[in-house]
């Protein structure tokens, strides 16, 4: 192996990563769905127990469906918490959404305020969508595409 062979091997690797990044590009509905799940979780304390449980169960069952849909659509599944800069984005999204959820729970259960959780839920949707788009952008850049 010489310098040019090493370079061409690295080029082949980069090319594979770029193709992978293109294949992993999600359609807009996928980002929207992630935002809705996050927003639904944040807004759930605004509702009475049966509806709240219904929302949480729906979110819980949606996760394997999303994973399955991603596998079918892309031929792979990329963990959101994978190593790399995307992990910072994923942890950031989770931290913000969980903070909103905590505020939502506090407002709904302690102060019987059912409006704030709904407002925070809308913020949760927006943060989820923007976070998902940002995650994808960071991933694509990391793959060199």
């Amino acid at each position: 192996m010489d310098h040019s062979e090493a370079l061409s091997a690295l080029d082949a690797k980069r090319d594979a990563q770029m193709q992978m990044a293109r294949a992993a590009t999600c359609p807009p509905w996928r980002h929207g769905l992630f935002g809705l799940l996050m927003g639904g979780l944040v807004a759930s304390p605004a509702f009475d127990f049966p509806i709240r449980m219904g929302i949480l169960i729906l979110i819980l069952f949606s996760i394997p469906l999303i994973v399955s849909s991603d596998r079918k659509r892309m031929g792979m599944f990329i963990n959101g918490y994978r190593r790399g800069k995307t992990r910072i984005v994923a942890v950031g999204i989770l931290a913000v959404e969980m903070s909103l959820y905590a505020i939502s729970v506090w407002r709904a259960f302690d102060d019987h305020d059912h409006v704030t959780p709904l407002v925070l839920g809308i913020a949760g949707v927006l943060i989820g969508v923007v976070g998902s788009l940002l995650w994808q952008r960071v991933f694509v850049r990391e793959m060199g595409a």
């Binding site: 192996m1 010489d2 090493a6 193709q19 596998r71 792979m76």
Partner: protein, 116 residues
């Protein structure tokens, strides 16, 4: 002459390096995607996957999707370590040319490849 540390003859063929590069990022990848990315035929991809599995670098499983059985590949921790090490070696070789350090390593690597 010393073989560059981390050079891996199993990962040396470009298609295998590409398969490992994809699997290093994804939890699992399907045969058809790996075929598209490598641009190789079914039989060639199968042979590369078999070689990687034999080395313990990947695990293969069959799973149903759209009513058909599909092959999924996943990188093992051994495979991940070998991939990282091989890529580091490639990067070092690519970078070392200016300092003229690669001549001896090149001959040593060629000897290893002939044996493999």
């Amino acid at each position: 002459m010393e073989v560059p540390k981390g050079f891996d003859s199993v990962l040396h063929p470009p298609a295998r390096l590409q398969i490992a590069a994809v699997l290093a990022q994804a939890q699992e990848a399907e045969f058809a995607l790996l075929k598209t990315i490598t641009g190789a035929s079914d039989s060639v991809v199968s042979k590369h996957l078999a070689a990687l599995a034999e080395a313990g670098y990947i695990v293969l499983r069959k799973g149903p999707s759209d009513g058909r059985q599909r092959t999924w590949a996943k990188l093992t921790s051994t495979g991940r370590a070998a991939f990282r090490s091989h890529v580091k070696t490639l990067e070092a070789l690519a970078a070392a040319v200016a300092s003229g350090e690669t001549g001896g390593q090149t001959r040593a690597v060629k000897r290893v490849r002939r044996r493999a």
